[in-house]
């Protein structure tokens, strides 16, 4: 990793073209295989990578990512191993640590989130997404991110309206994670109408923050459709984790799984780019 000092590299990642933002749980199913999987996604064209630090109570996750969390924890993942994982990664895209607040809060000798953010920044993490941390409780983590030049990405839900939305926009940096539909993470067949509504509401706030849509995106068409609907990026988790799960269940060589991840990653990146071309966006 190149990380350590300086500012977050996230804002630059959304500048030139629609972004592909994959998620994987670090250490799923093993430390070494998982390194190869994340690196495969960078080759596929990932612009930002969300790297899950598994927590024992993943209340925002559907079955696919719950099982990834179990595999990773069973494979010996700890907070310390996670930082070693980030340090060992040979990728050159911004990394976002996605985890739950208790792990951030517990780290280090001092109370509060700062020791975690400081260490994460030193290992090369650019920002954070914390699904169980609404604006009401995010003050201390925001301050720690500011102190270390990191981004805090807020999740905007389909139920988020008006003053809450403005508060999240004001709180966020890097990008906004626009949740495509209600529920938990998991691959779905089609992009919800609510995605379009949510994106329109965010646009009305006049924010400059890039908007990346996640929850349910699994194909070229969906990646294309969310970008066409006004998103600046497509976040994909469960569809990729499914490949890792299947490779693990079928006992496939990690290179084979990495190749499959890279293939789906390319498809998704191409989908995101396709929407930027006039004919593709008119197709809908």
């Amino acid at each position: 990793m190149s990380g350590g000092t300086g500012e977050s590299r996230i804002p630059a990642a959304f500048e030139s073209e629609p972004a592909f933002v994959p998620y994987l749980a670090a250490g799923d199913p093993t430390f070494e295989a998982s390194l190869a999987y994340v690196e495969a996604l960078e080759r596929a064209g990932a612009d930002v990578i969300e790297l899950g630090l598994p927590f024992s109570e993943p209340i925002a996750e559907g079955p696919t990512i719950q099982q990834a969390v179990v595999r990773s924890l069973d494979g010996g993942m700890t907070v310390e191993r996670y930082f070693e994982f980030v340090a060992a990664l040979d990728v050159d895209v911004p990394l976002v640590c996605m985890t739950y607040y208790n792990l951030i809060y517990q780290y280090g000798d001092e109370e509060g989130p700062e020791p975690f953010v400081e260490r994460a920044a030193a290992e090369g993490i650019d920002g954070f997404v914390v699904p169980d941390l609404p604006a009401e409780e995010a003050g201390p983590l925001r301050a720690a991110c500011d102190a270390h030049g990191r981004d805090l990405v807020s999740i905007v839900a389909p139920t988020t309206r008006d003053d809450r939305l403005q508060r999240l926009v004001d709180l966020s940096s890097g990008y906004l994670y626009v949740q495509a539909r209600l529920g938990v993470t998991g691959a779905r067949a089609s992009v919800s109408d609510r995605t379009t509504e949510s994106l329109a509401r965010v646009a009305e706030t006049g924010t400059d923050l890039p908007r990346a849509v996640g929850f349910g995106i699994s194909s070229f068409e969906q990646a294309r459709d969310v970008i066409a609907a006004g998103a600046d990026g497509a976040i994909v988790g469960s569809a990729l984790v499914d490949i890792v799960a299947e490779g693990h269940a079928e006992d496939r060589p990690p290179e084979e799984t990495a190749a499959e991840l890279e293939a789906l990653g390319r498809e998704l990146k191409e989908g995101a780019l396709a929407a930027a071309e006039p004919e593709a966006s008119q197709a809908d």
Binding site: E61, E80, N102, L103, A135, E136, A157, T160, R164
Partner: protein
Amino acid sequence: MSEQQQRRDGKFGDYGGQYVPEALMPAIEELTDAYERYVLGNEDGFMDEFRRRIRDFGGRPTPMGRADQLSERYGTEVYLKREDLLHGGAHKLNNALGQCLLAKYMGKERIVAETGAGQHGTATAMAAAHLDMPCEIYMGRRDINRQRPNVFRMRINGAEVTPVEVGRGTLKEAINETMRDWATTVETTHYIIGSIVGPHPFPSMVRDFHRPISAETKRQSREAFGRLPDAVVACAGGGSNTMGIFSEFVDPRDSDPEGVDDVDLYAVEAGGSTLDVDEERGVAPNSASLSTGTEGVLHGARTKVLQDTDGQIMESHSVSSGLDYAGVGPELANLVEEGRVDAVNVDDDAALAAFHRLSQTEGIIPALETAHAVAYLEQHDDPSELGEYVVINVSGRGDKDLAAAMEETAGRDLPNAPEMDVFDGEGLR
């Protein structure tokens, strides 16, 4: 902490708060508003209807009576607050009925709830049937196997019961899964959380629905022995029966607050098989989060939790599935930290012995949860030091626990357990 402040941000000292996904926050705000208007403000006569229904449907007030043989055994006047006599066999109906009614006032169409021992699930199923609301209960697979009679009761009352297969299949996993359901259905569904845990306003609201336990205890104490008790003892898992019977002694809202500060409050946790933890395996063979836990964030609140040094939540254990939880209500955590409540614990063996003792000496078969509170007097070197008058909250009856109690008793050397071998065989479970 002023009540006003507590209402606004749901903090109890450093504990409490609202650590939940953004998707749920609008519903939490809506619920907070409904709690303040209907429960605290009695808007549209909500609390009047709640009091009427918990009387006519629930059977409040529950009695409080002297335990003659325990009083003699412990050299102090022991009184039992009989929440086991509330409809459904546990204090849980207070909260389930209150929240179910609130959901109706809020215009919600569906109820979801988690359950551990099945007591909250059965109370919710009854309340939902009574108020004509569809309801779905999430229950861990292991708990389903431990508490089959309650599963049958929920089904018979018309509730869907959905097994939770992940993890160890106990309360913690059931709460996770119910939160996931709620995150999907939040616009039409209310989540009736079963204890004083979770994000604000749940801890305050659940406590307030259980507050009648405490108000009645004060009144009945004055009637029975002319003053407030010296000590109140209640078991604590999440802590709803605990805060139910403590609340008027901590934060009096009835007309007669005099002397409440002099009442000692004991929260008896499940010591399980030992208080030691197995950090390597992530297992705490107990559920004593007040006694041995550390500050952390679990299920929407900052509180005392059983966790490893990273902050991963440990698997808890107790012979009583209703106490088998790695966290505890934030208000209770704060009261222990402030020194207002003493956190103590008794182990599985002591709880089982107390289960048999109360059954034999007073004719009351207690829930295994409740047995922990009763066991504290036995464990105490000199129970008379607790004071002249001691009230124990009999939070629930033990019918649901018969199979588990017999099975656990069979593997132990309990001098006061009845001989059951002759009845062994297929019929017992």
